[in-house]
Amino acid sequence: MTKAANISIDDAVLVQQCRQGDSVAAETLIRKYQNRIYNAIFRICANPDDAAELTQDTFVKVIENIDKFEGRSSFYTWAFRIGVNLTLNYCQRNVKLGLKSLDAEDNDDDNEDKGVLKKFLTDVNLPDPAVVAQNRELCRLAVKALMKLDDTQRAVVVLRDIEGMNYAQIAEVLDIELGTVRSRLSRARANLREIMERMF
């Protein structure tokens, strides 16, 4: 079962209470989703401070517009949609202003990075996720590779592989067709692999 599937069915009740001005219900909703939304935003924008600010803006917007939530989608995807849109707009703005994270602009020819990734990708056996997670260096390189992706491709990879959404939910969050999700995810993973290969 994916993380996305672990959504309480009480969302509708909380939303209804929140609409009636129940601040406790609003707080419950925030507590419930703040970490997940923050994590996704952080993986897209790669800056913890910006991610915190974007997450805050996301929840303020969610509570402000709770009356406009029509219930055609789940509250979970609706809130993510607001968060991802804010983040992608922020990324576009930063690209225009030349403020892209310096981490992503690191020199690809770092010998240390090459060695770690080479070992990972050439290993015939599938690595144990727990082992991978423990390898901090490998994670750092993965983040680095991820940040070299196009913003929209990175968003679809984050929503699928980090947040664990299915294709339909991703289509809902990004407001794109299911086929577009499929092709965009395919291109994103292919690009990610090429980026990692170049980092050998």
Partner: protein, 354 residues
């Protein structure tokens, strides 16, 4: 998922990795992996990428995020005490009322535009032409209201019916149009007005009973004769006048219509045409006949060589002779309504000018 939705093997392999393929495609991918080492290798690489990304550590939101959000919301006064349901209901009612008002305003605007369009159409729409033939000028002329005093001075006079209207030579009674079947004005222009006027005076004197003619000083140029006589007497008079018609340079008949604003003007009118118009029993038929003659005479006048005149003359109603039935027995003819119709009165004013 159908085959068309999977344009390349990568999408198929990614769908396989993500568990988004249906059973048929899953089987297909499994078969490909089994039979093709390259595809199997590709799947492995994609799987590694996926694992690498998904194994990234989960980052929790900062502790102060919730309080920041609440502070921000409080700053915007969004975490105020809950709005009472009744107030919310009233707000929705207000929104509905506003929508209704907007719709009403829109409907009123549309209705107003419709009325305005109708008024504009009424103002600028052309009046449909009434039986106006091509290339014919009926020359409907407005009748200026004539004061009673403006009747032709000494020679004029009008008698409606002998029992109802008393005519005087000085101040004639005004004829009632409704009771006369035909009302018109014949304007004659001639180079020898004295001779023509004298002839007309004499013809009137001989053919029209004194009670039906009104002329104070017959024979004077520019004076008019107003006759309210029977159709039979008028026909006899017109027959008489036809002998002097060759001395008339211009003969114009103005026939009054039931429309208050117009007359039918017939140029180059002939005595036969006047007689034909006057003899029509129905007023509308008189008008139709008058229009016909107006059109015909107009066309004849306008035609360069007047070639059609003969043809038209041969087809005019005036000259169409319907053979009368001949009595073959000793039976006496029965007096019909035709005789009574002959007694119906007509009103004609004749003016002679130079």
């Amino acid at each position: 998922m159908n085959q068309n939705e999977i344009p390349n093997i990568d999408e198929l392999l990614n769908g396989f990795l993500d568990g988004e393929l249906d059973a048929r495609h899953q089987t297909e991918v499994q078969r490909l992996i089994k039979n093709d080492e390259k595809i199997a290798q590709r799947l492995l690489e994609l799987q590694k990428c996926k694992r690498l990304v998904s194994s990234l550590p989960y980052t929790r939101a900062p502790q102060e995020l919730l309080s920041n959000i609440k502070a921000s919301l409080e700053g915007k006064k969004l975490t105020t005490p809950p709005v009472p349901p009744m107030q919310r209901h009233r707000e929705r009612e207000g929104a509905r009322h506003l929508l209704l008002r907007r719709l009403t305003a829109a409907a009123a605007m549309i209705a107003l535009a419709g009325v305005l369009a109708a008024v504009i159409y009424w103002v600028i729409a052309p009046v449909p032409a009434v039986e106006k033939p091509v290339a014919v000028d009926l020359r409907l002329q407005p009748i200026a209201p004539q004061p009673k005093d403006s009747q032709p001075a000494a020679l004029s006079g009008v008698v409606e019916t002998k029992s109802e209207v008393v005519a005087t030579a000085e101040k004639p009674a005004e004829p009632a149009l409704a009771e006369t079947k035909f009302t018109g004005r014949l304007e004659l222009k001639t180079t020898s007005p004295a001779e023509v006027a004298a002839f007309i005076n004499k013809a009137i004197e001989y053919n029209i009973p004194s009670g039906e003619r009104y002329a104070a000083a017959p024979g004077k140029l520019g004076e008019s004769h107003t006759l309210v006589c029977s159709r039979q007497n008028l026909r006899v008079l017109l027959d008489e006048l036809s002998t002097v018609w060759d001395k008339i340079d211009s003969a114009v008949l103005l026939v009054n219509t039931d429309q208050p604003q117009g007359q039918i003007v017939i140029d180059a009118v002939t005595p036969e045409q006047i007689s034909e118009i006057a003899k029509q029993d129905d007023f509308q038929t008189q008008i139709k006949t008058a229009k016909f003659f107006a059109a015909m005479n107009n066309m004849t006048t306008l035609s360069p060589g007047k070639e059609v005149q003969v043809a038209i003359d041969n087809s005019t109603p005036a000259l169409i002779t319907i053979p009368k039935p001949v009595l073959t027995s000793s039976e006496k003819p029965v007096t019909t309504a035709g005789a009574a119709k002959e007694e119906q009165q007509v009103l004609l004013t004749i003016v002679v000018t130079r």
